[in-house]
């Protein structure tokens, strides 16, 4: 346990180091990197949706599941919001219905995973296609973009009297809530227990199905919230909004040191990883690297964040010429 903890600490130390290296490289490569505009506006807001979706994803992966449909829920919530606004409904109603869409989408994921005990991996690949498809059905290849300024302020504007963007405040509040839930509350301990050993967790009185259902609903609602912020930020509701963002969300969580098989990880690591990806994206953006090629770096980062520790462990085994301990088979 002590070694495990030291490993975790060193992983987070590594992330801090990576972040610093990123900032240094960024400021060397581009004089605009450390400009106040980039630091206060572009850097935080570009990854805001990824950042807030990574929070419930962390909880879900720690509990031993995964939700690949988040970007599609984001897109679906976005077009529902757009359609309602365009057909003359109030913005508040549109936001409410969009959140409800997220809740229903998450609920369907959760029910399929828990009631039928199906693998979340496959179910959410299915709903990834389903929800994105429904987004296309709702709005076709159109886009809604005539949103009121009071709404787009949510994405562009800052809190009056400060330089903090509204979406930054939302993220900060969510981080506090999630840290309390995962690292302080009983529910958080239950999540780790479930991820480590589902059967043992059930026998110790945790209602695994109910907790997981709640997690998927939470993930859906937060993805819908991310959809609302995304729509406000670009002032545009399109069915292909945030296409492929699940890659970024999963990358951030795994880079943050969360074990893909569940049971291990911390929000500190994930928040650090969010900043690393934000810096990376910002640097690539300043270097005029297109989004399609940016995803090369993110894809590599995803693979390396799992491959790196695995290879390190293998090399360690070779060096010490010691067979793997029986308990470590799960980490592999």
């Amino acid at each position: 346990m002590k070694r495990l903890k030291s490993l975790l600490v060193s992983w987070e130390a590594l992330l801090v180091l990576l972040l610093l290296i990123g900032v240094v490289i960024g400021s060397v490569l581009s004089p605009f990197f450390l400009s106040s505009f980039n630091l206060e506006y572009a850097l935080p807001s570009n990854t805001m949706e990824i950042a807030i979706m990574a929070l419930p994803m962390t909880l879900i992966i720690i509990s031993g599941e995964i939700d690949l449909s988040v970007a599609s829920v984001l897109g679906l919530a976005s077009v529902v919001l757009g359609l309602l606004w365009e057909t003359g409904h109030s913005m508040w109603l549109a936001i409410g219905v969009a959140l409800l869409v997220g809740l229903v989408a998450g609920c369907l994921n959760g029910l399929l995973v828990t009631k039928l005990s199906l693998p979340s991996l496959v179910i959410t690949i299915g709903t990834l296609a389903l929800y994105r498809g429904l987004a296309y059905v709702v709005l076709g290849d159109q886009a809604v973009s005539n949103f009121p300024t009071s709404f787009t302020n949510l994405g562009f504007g800052t809190i009056p009297g400060t330089e903090i963007p509204w979406s930054g405040l939302i993220f900060a509040i969510l981080v506090v809530i999630f840290v309390v839930v995962l690292h302080v509350s009983r529910l958080g301990r239950q999540l780790y227990a479930m991820g480590n050993n589902k059967e043992a967790a059930r026998f110790s009185g945790i209602n695994v199905s109910r907790v997981k259902l709640m997690l998927f609903i939470l993930s859906g609602v937060i993805a819908a919230l991310a959809g609302i912020i995304f729509t406000a930020r670009f002032s545009s509701a399109r069915p292909d909004n945030a296409l492929g963002f699940e890659l970024y969300v999963v990358t951030v969580v795994l880079l943050g040191g969360v074990n893909i098989f569940g049971g291990r990880g911390s929000l500190l690591g994930v928040v650090l990883a969010i900043f690393i990806v934000a810096v990376l994206q910002s640097v690539m953006g300043l270097l005029n690297i297109s989004g399609d090629i940016q995803s090369l770096a993110i894809g590599l980062l995803l693979i390396l964040s799992v491959l790196g520790p695995n290879l390190a462990r293998r090399i360690q085994v070779v060096i010490t010429r010691r067979p793997l301990a029986a308990g470590s088979s799960k980490q592999v």
Partner: protein, 349 residues
């Protein structure tokens, strides 16, 4: 027949029918079910739009299914080992673009050389996946989600440095003929897909490695104990998936003639839909090639039917999603039923 005699009959059958037979029966029932679904689609669409029933249209359906089926066959090998390959769409995209560009730059070169180039490229990409998964011990979903974007970015990089789009007029007619040539009145594309299906089917059914693939998927620990080298098989499955994606990419370029960096984006969802609709268990270890081919044909027919009925193509993706979920849910119920049947039989015995 009275209830009692029915029960007697059933008990008699229970004694005779072995467990393996039961699984084979389930497979047959699934394939039969798919055939019935297929006939229903044909009937429903055919009544509303008679031109759907023409020979020409069926040929169109099979043409559109051929490439999907080739990729789905490779995916089947991977899924049988309890893994998944999400990067297939990007691998097809890379090979389609590179092959088409090759023929644009060197129109005089040998046709076979271009085909081999595409296949070799696919094989290399698949081997990279296999290395990361089987020797790097990265879960397939993570590894191939990563390579999905890495490979796609490679196409964009290649396109940015060469040409944004390869047009039909840029490539030699002999390359395009790959998709249009007819042999004994059957388009070559369909024949190629059929031959690949027979080869893969024979390999899975009759070869030692083929049977080991099922063993690895249905019980990895047991497979390990009896000396099956799991890492190698998983690696080989990913490599084969890449190779078939390479071939599919070559054919993709020949069929669609105009190729850009976004080609075959999202193909992985159709492929996975075809595989799970075709009855391959997503937990590995069970599934047949006939089922996968039927799964691909059902999806292709449905797509064509929507087209002919003038239903918006925007429904397609939602439909693939629903098909994946529906097939997995159905599989879960079938598995439960089989397990319960086996259990009750053991209790009686």
């Amino acid at each position: 027949m009275t209830t009692t005699s029915q029960e007697v009959e059933r008990t008699k059958q229970r004694g005779q029918v072995s467990q393996a037979h039961l699984f084979r029966l389930v497979n047959r029932v699934r394939e039969l079910g798919l055939l019935i679904v297929l006939l229903l689609i044909i009937l429903i669409v055919g009544i509303q739009a008679p031109r759907f029933l023409s020979i020409d249209n069926f040929e169109q359906i099979l043409l559109s299914v051929a490439i999907l089926a080739i990729v789905a066959l490779g995916e089947t090998l991977v899924v049988l080992t309890r893994n998944v390959d999400l990067s297939v769409g990007s691998m097809v995209g890379v090979t389609a673009f590179v092959t088409a560009y090759f023929f644009k730059q060197l129109p005089q070169s040998n046709l076979l050389l271009g085909i081999l180039l595409g296949c070799a490229l696919g094989l290399v990409l698949g081997m990279v996946n296999g290395l990361i998964v089987s020797f790097g011990r990265v879960p397939a979903i993570v590894a191939t989600l990563g390579t999905l974007y890495v490979y796609r970015a490679l196409v964009f990089i290649v396109a940015a440095h060469t040409t944004l789009q390869v047009n039909a007029s840029d490539v030699p007619a002999s390359y395009l003929a790959l998709a249009t040539t007819q042999i004994f009145g059957i388009p070559a594309l369909i024949l190629i897909a059929a031959i690949i299906a027979i080869i893969v089917g024979y390999f899975l059914h009759a070869s030692q490695s083929g049977r080991q693939l099922y063993a690895v998927g249905s019980n990895p620990e047991a497979a390990n104990i009896i000396g099956i080298r799991r890492d190698r098989l998983v690696f080989a499955a990913f490599a084969a998936s890449g190779l078939l994606c390479g071939l599919a990419g070559v054919l993709w370029g020949a069929r669609f003639a105009t190729v850009d960096a976004t080609d075959a984006t999202g193909l992985e969802l159709q492929v996975i839909a075809a595989v799970v609709v075709g009855g391959v268990n997503i937990f590995g270890g069970s599934g047949t090639i006939l089922g996968v081919v039927l799964g691909a044909i059902v999806l292709g027919t449905l797509q064509n039917g929507l087209n002919i009925l003038n239903i918006s193509q925007f429904w397609l993706q939602a439909m693939y999603g629903a098909a994946i979920i529906g097939a997995v849910v159905l599989d879960a119920f079938i598995t439960r039923w089989v397990q319960r049947t086996i259990l009750s039989r053991r209790k009686k015995a």
